[in-house]
């Protein structure tokens, strides 16, 4: 597992104050919202803020693309790596 992915999982747990979930419980390809990890739309806003702060990336102007970027740990890590590259 790449460092960035572990870091992101920890960031999600800390930012959203998730209980009963450890880094190892979050699958890389699991959906973050609704099914899967079960995050809601307020979590999405909070997570967006945290990701912007931690990685100095910009949230995409396009709503569909944002949805895709935040869909799973894999997608989020690709998005951040590309934005930083």
């Amino acid at each position: 597992m790449s460092d960035l992915k572990v870091e992101l999982k920890q960031l999600i747990i800390d930012t959203l104050d998730l209980e009963d979930i450890a880094v190892s419980d979050i699958q890389d390809d699991e959906a973050l919202f609704v099914d899967g990890l079960g995050l809601d739309s307020i979590d999405a806003l909070e997570l967006g803020l945290a990701i912007k702060k931690a990685y100095e990336v910009k949230i995409d102007a396009n709503s569909e693309q944002t949805k895709q970027h935040f869909s799973s740990i894999n997608a989020l890590s690709d998005f951040i790596s590309q934005a930083k590259a």
Partner: protein, 450 residues
């Protein structure tokens, strides 16, 4: 008045096209005998077509607040048919079919008439204490009166607005009034999109630089917006920001004012009463709430908690209505809000009756007793649950783990509550810690989450 009523991305939907589609759906509805129609559509334009078609055919509309299956099932018991992007098995669907051969003369002049001929009832549903969604029936004439008042109260910002943008849904009364009825009645274009991130609003405004907008926001969005306000670069395009659905913290509204030189207009009301009062906090201390024109109020003593707000209003059928909001009287038209007198809470603008949720939990086979409440000591106030469990739950804990049991109860609640309303933290006990007087002490429950 603009010939365009809705914007869908770059596509403009004209009044004449809209009215033609409404007419076409009216024809479909006329072929049926149904009187009570459940309507849910997340798309505001599609929703509006059905909404107007049903009202013009004098059908009674039932508006579910969300599309959770149990909510729909419950409400469908009072309906004869349904419309929209949902699926129900117990009642038939009225399918929207668009007849492209309809020719309306001067349909652009039909727009104001669209409102004049509305004459039917709408039932809203909101969280009550009974365990079932609480039905609130409203005749369309009250909604129309209310938008007339909103229009005259907010004349200046609205008359300079080209487009209304929104982060809220039209299935609730705030969205229905402000996002759909008010702009349509007064010829302001509606952007047919629910914005999730402020970045998307920024992108839209950058691409439409000549447009002045009014933003319909929820406190939940504004709270996150001020933390990293990406709308600064486009702030001159805002005529007005409305906030409603729940209380907006004063530090959020003053920070927003500092950042964007625009103090949000806060609207206070409820589904039962419609709009009651509004305020704009543009000073260093919070302003009092001011009643909308035509509304009168009283303060009614309530136990030792303070005084409850009682109003009479032209926006409702009842002569007067005693709310569960606590207030402090300032003068005949102004008051200060002091919280709630019952166990209904607003969490990120979702109205939740704690009693209702506890009853839903107790219906689960693994739960003996349940207590849910708001915990304020974490980063953001959140709903938490303390549950007295039985052997069924203990077996899940033992065979699997705590997360599995949390998920089990969340799945159960999701049948009637939205995901956003679910408890975030769970504590499992064999018995709830009642004291010698048979009471649950809040502090003792809170300690469980330290």
């Amino acid at each position: 008045m603009s010939q365009v009523c809705f914007l869908e991305g770059d596509k403009e939907i004209t009044w004449s096209f809209f009215c033609t589609q409404v007419e076409s759906v009216r024809q479909t509805i006329r072929q049926t005998q149904f009187e009570n129609v459940l309507l849910y559509h997340s798309d505001s334009y599609q929703f509006s077509i059905c909404f107007f078609a049903l009202l013009l055919e004098q059908k009674h509309i039932l508006l579910p607040p969300n599309s959770q299956q149990e909510t729909l099932n419950q409400i469908s018991k009072s309906a004869d048919a349904y419309m929209g992007e949902i699926s129900l098995l117990n009642i038939p669907q009225i399918k929207c079919s668009f007849n492209n051969n309809i020719q309306l003369e001067n349909s652009y002049k039909i727009a104001p008439k669209l409102f004049d001929s509305l004459n039917s009832k709408i039932t809203f549903y909101t969280s009550g204490s009974t365990g079932k969604p609480k039905a609130i029936v409203k005749h369309s004439r009250y909604l129309l009166k209310e938008i007339e008042t909103l229009k005259s109260t907010f004349e200046t910002p609205l008359s300079q607005t080209d487009i209304v943008l929104s982060t809220v849904s039209h299935q609730h009364i705030y969205g229905l009034l402000f996002k759909i009825l008010l702009p349509l009645r007064f010829g302001i274009k509606i952007l047919n999109q629910v914005f999730e991130y402020p970045e998307h609003i920024q992108a839209y405004l950058k691409a439409n630089k000549s447009k002045q907008v009014t933003l319909l926001a929820s406190p939940a969005h504004l709270k996150r917006l001020v933390e990293d306000n990406v709308l600064l670069q486009v702030k001159t395009q805002f005529e007005c920001i409305f906030s409603s659905g729940g209380p907006l913290a004063f530090d959020v509204s003053s920070l927003l004012n500092k950042q964007m030189s625009i103090a949000p207009i806060e609207v206070f009301g409820s589904t039962e009463t419609g709009g009651i009062a509004w305020r704009r906090c543009d000073k260093t201390t919070p302003n009092d709430w001011m009643l909308f024109q035509g509304i009168k109020y009283n303060s009614v003593p309530f136990e030792d908690l303070g005084e409850r707000l009682q109003i009479s209003s032209p926006f409702m059928a009842d002569e007067s209505y005693l709310t569960d909001d606590l207030i402090q009287k300032v003068d005949d038209t102004h008051f200060v809000l002091k919280g709630r007198s019952d166990r209904t809470i607003k969490l990120e603008e979702k109205r939740i009756n704690l009693e209702h949720m506890e009853q839903a939990l107790i219906r689960h086979e693994a739960i003996k007793e349940a207590k849910v409440f708001i915990l304020n000591n974490s980063k953001r106030p959140s709903l938490v649950a303390v549950i007295a469990i039985n052997d069924i739950a203990r077996k899940i804990l033992c065979d699997r783990n705590k997360r599995a049991l949390n998920e089990c109860f969340k799945t159960h609640l999701l049948k009637e509550f939205e995901r956003i309303s679910l408890p975030k933290k769970w504590r499992y006990l064999n018995e709830l810690p009642f004291n010698a007087q048979g009471k649950l002490v809040q502090k003792e429950l809170e300690v469980l989450f330290d």
